[in-house]
Symmetry: D3
Subunit: 288 residues, 6 copies
């Protein structure tokens, strides 16, 4: 390695120093979503970012989704996926498929990847240790089945795992206390867990790169959004329709004690590190 290249490396590490110092011992909840879960190479990069966080003293908690894989298995089983207002209608059989895919496959694949890269991880669902307590969501005029809204988070299990050096990986299944599993929106699960853990950061890894100021330009990411900026953004039609609920829930998370919420693009290599350890970041950060 030429001297100059080496020096540059050292400089990068030194630039990260204030971040290492600041983030040390902070809890950060990371929602992994989108196509990153289909791309082993991208997932591996993400996991490396998570491990760098872990080894510099940050306490990461991962929450994952997996809707696409659920739909795929349902198709193979000749089951029809049905949605009401974006919520998957979840009969008993669909619930089984959901649990099998999320807790049996995706969850363990993330765990396995972390361990291949040298970490120690434990995959749990929200039913384990009563982590996510939920109740059946009621929609007027339609029964959407075993879809749940969260009523309580018991952080005991996450704290136990973290205290022993394990990185927790959570699949968003809740329990109603009577043995019924409930399908929970992964973004919501991540948010509620972050609030319950009094996490410093809540980070959504998505297929997009963040909130855009120009919907046609994927590079027009808005770096920082404060709660007071949101109405204007929505009013100007500057944000995509799908992004509106994400913006609203991010702002709500801030009001519930999370210090900052991030939306970053999973397709960008090392997105997590870039967002955390560089001044500019690469996605959208919501701050109070």
């Amino acid at each position: 390695m030429p001297q100059s290249e080496a020096s540059q490396k050292a400089r990068v590490l030194i630039e990260a120093l204030p971040y290492f110092r600041q983030f040390r011992t902070q809890t950060m909840v990371i929602k992994i979503g989108g196509s990153i879960m289909d791309d082993e190479a991208m997932l591996r990069l993400l996991v490396k970012d998570v491990l760098l966080m872990h080894w510099t003293g940050i306490k990461p908690v991962l929450v994952h989704g997996g809707g696409k894989h659920i739909t795929q298995l349902m198709a193979r089983l000749d089951m029809k996926a049905e949605f009401v207002e974006g919520l998957r209608v979840t009969d008993k059989e669909t619930m089984d498929v959901t649990q099998m895919v999320l807790s049996g496959l995706i969850n363990k694949d993330i765990v396995s990847m972390i361990q291949r890269e040298g970490g120690r991880a434990v995959g749990v669902s929200g039913r384990d240790g009563n982590l996510i307590r939920a109740k059946k969501m009621v929609k007027p005029g339609v029964d959407i089945g075993q879809v749940g809204e969260i009523t309580a988070i018991d952080t005991g299990l996450l704290e136990t795992l973290d205290g022993s050096g394990f990185i927790p990986v959570v699949s968003p299944i809740g329990g109603d206390g009577d043995g019924v599993s409930l399908n929970i929106n992964a973004d919501t699960a991540a948010t509620e867990i972050a609030v319950a853990l009094k996490a410093e950061k809540l980070i959504f890894i998505t297929d997009g790169n963040g909130v855009l100021s120009d919907l046609r330009d994927p590079d027009s990411v808005i770096s920082r959004i404060r709660p007071e900026d949101a109405p204007a953004l929505e009013a100007k039609g500057l944000v995509s329709k799908g992004m509106i609920p994400k913006i609203r829930s991010s702002i709500e998370a801030l009001s519930r004690g999370i210090r900052s919420v991030h939306i970053i693009g999973g397709k960008i290599p090392n997105a997590l590190l870039l967002e955390l350890f560089t001044e500019a970041g690469i996605g959208t950060q919501f701050i109070p």
Copy 2:
């Protein structure tokens, strides 16, 4: 409640006193197998037994199988189950089904049942926390796929969970350290975990009632077997063919430090309590 009945109840509790005292703080590994997993009422009874153990200070660890459910899902997916020497030939797709059924469904159903009865449980697979490290089993002349034999048990996760009052429930999936999942025989997993934990007891819950002295009489259970009794039993043809490997592995477990191994019938209500808390027991106990 008439006085006499009440007194009798008290007497039963008092008779259990020496067992409470003796078992307190002991680790016991319980392999749950057979049709008990299809019968919610029976499973509930078993779980109550486990909780009684837990609340009197015993540290139970559960390991479960689930071959029948795997075969069922494979059938629904038009996959053909194939066996070599009793081992399921496990290609990548079969492995996925195995993991989904074991870690995604059965494991969480047991966890859920424990929590409905008031306990706190956490379901993990052998991949979590590097619990079960395995390597691909090699059979001469035939590739049986992702079937593993255990190379190491890391008890860290189990001790972490137990130390925080969670009952661990383990699905028998191993990892090879390179991200490949391996299908592990549940009996073997339970035995290796018991040995690694230096458990006092290893208990197999099966469809039969124990080792029989007369194959035609299901009540002819042999209460106690010592290592030196085994050859005669085998020689006399007194034990069923399927039972021979179980007897051998039980005796081997004794030689590796387990104080006693039990084979009991899951169909008998409260089989676990009867075996542990009564003098005669109801199944077969192997002691050194």
Copy 3:
């Protein structure tokens, strides 16, 4: 043991499960009084009940009396027992006899019985570790000698013993801080210790079976009494005269934070277990 009998045993244990769970880690103060202390067989049964409590995680503290034995030794020493309003007039010599009998004999016999049955116990008097601080009781017009009323309880010693797995057995002798011993009513000592320890239950073991609704019928035990019931009971003359102070002090104990007070009959085998681990109980329970 026939199958049916065994099953019944298991069923009893399982029925006790919610109690095991509920009582776990609770402190219960048990006043042992009456003729049970003259009957080794009955005492042994009681001690077994206490040990079952101990081994299922309850923290029992025993307080005992012993008036009859004091009177007996005084008679042998040609001393005359004299009482004023039910209080033993206690000169220096009577105090010595009281201490010798309570702390030297009865206390150690209970300790010894617990240890014979497999527990670990430590007998202390209220003078040890400044457990019971008291002052001389003043009666107008008469000097009743070294009879004390409690001014403070120091729970440090009891917590130390309990924290190391010892069952404390307390003889009701107080100290005035200047080296003078004081004779304390055992019921009062038990109550004050229970309040100071924030005990969940305070249990009086007596010769009677509880509060009766018909004084002529020893089986007419009133199962539950709430504070508001007491005046009517007293007014109707339904309770024996001797029981009135016990009822009043039980109700007062409730108002000072004890969750329930029990009066049960020491002559009933396993009275303690029956009261604690069966729905109906066998004595009288005071609840707020």
Copy 4:
């Protein structure tokens, strides 16, 4: 206070400095015997010495006798004291008297004195916490009743009390594990407890001033005796007959790990401090 007197005081404290440093955290077992127990003023002085030890970080454990008081109570009860080879023949009734006097009175009086002077003490007998396990002593041709020889010391209770800042005071009663109390020689009890606790010092407080070189001169105390000196002392008839067993057992204690054994006179004010905190000491010290 004149300046010179004050300075002298300071000098004394400073001279004690190396002892404070050396003895800090050491365990010392002190056998209190002889007439000191009849003399409240002397006992108070002794207790102050013990508290000074305690507050400078030494861990004292007291063991007391009380033969004279036992004989007195027996006389009052018209019981006849009988001795065989210096051992009190102990029938059931004598055992009761022994326990009442030792554990009920003398033990608590010492506890009380410690607490009056500002310490915290707990009086226990050897039956508490299975502290002294013993078996019936067998003498050929004569039944001496409940006289015991020690078979085991369980130091758990003493360590629990010491760990919480209580000074333990032990009465020398043993238990045989079946509920039978046994009368134990107090010197032996102190020695065995010292050995079990790996105490640095074992100190006997007696009516004499130590081992004398001239039996007629009470001031002719031999300051230091090494094991090799003992035969000559005995041979020359220089030591009193009663002292010979004490010398022998002191030397045996050294061989079992006690660093030094002291015999000092209880009638000398502050004997304990003088022996511990002055170069010359005032009694006899046995060192290896």
Copy 5:
């Protein structure tokens, strides 16, 4: 040693008993000033006093000055010492000399003396562990250079050292957070450290013997001064001019939570012990 002398020694120790008990676990900050630092024999005596405190459970913290030595080294370096209102004008070079003398020499000599007498000590300056944070003192019309006033005390380092059995010795140098050292008045440093540590006592060791009632009589020490006495003392001209600020700051320290402030004479052998462990004391004690 004659018996009578020995007894007297023991009596002195016993008289110290209530002090040992009272002071145990208390923190005491001791400012060492004046000519004691030039007199190795006197310093050794003082250190022995400190060690006696330490070994009886007191937690001493030493703060030292050293102005005379600074002036001496400056003279050797042909530097001129200049003072404004009693404050040394401290240019960069003077600051270097100050640090070298205080932290490099005097501090380590005190540490070394403690260790020679058997203790364990660690010498630190106020810059270590951010112990003393200060800002440049501003005097109108004149630049006195690197003279600081304390803005914050971080007790973390002192607690760490004390928790591991080290006696901290502090040289009064502060830091401004930007790498600039500041010269701090040692009396002020001791006071602020005492307040931050919530010390029970703050003790100034000076060349005088305390506050005098007659300036011409060095033995006319006023034993106790309460805040309300101060104005009269000052008004009557009874105290030396140099003593006035010391009286005022002592009284202020009381108002900030220190239980008592002492001014004692370093030339009196064992002054510290005499002040602490005798009723009359030998210096002046300020109490609220």
Copy 6:
């Protein structure tokens, strides 16, 4: 920041991941020497490297020299520096200067720099906490004064500081136990401290860049030297004369348990990070 630059930064961090993981919790002793101590900018860079180590979980211990500054102060004081075999002849006055410069100035400047960059540091000399025990070095025929060779290292203080998150900075002054300070070679002090702490790495920061294969080419640094390579290097005259003792002592350190010894150039920015966190390193590493 352009995307590509950001990505490169992330890549550097990720490349450091295995090092973060590997070095976590390791102790590394760093000897700071040479002209770096005269160059605040370089020292700041070095301190940043040390803090990065600290915040990624490494436990650094710094040891510094300072000969040049000693000589400078001696010159100002008209003292003559004299050397025998490279050892400074150290009379009492020279020792004072040595201590003042090392412990009073240089040590505190390093501490201060660490704290300005956000860390917490504590500067100690080898006399504090008996860290470096030494004896006077004896040279035949010449008295070199207070020059010491190390006889023992007490790591207690370093462990105390590290356990509370302070970075220790050590000046190489030893004590002989009788209050005499001894001048210790800083390289030797670093080596002995590393051995006593069972450090993984011992790192010398020097003015040169490492061991050169061509004395005329400062870039001809030999990356790795194994013990068996050393004789050839010396024989070929490939290494400078001054480097020979450094090579020998490095190899000796390996034989005493240090896993690797590094000699790196202090003038290279971020030399420490480059050596630790890049494959090639930039100095010379000695490995067994």
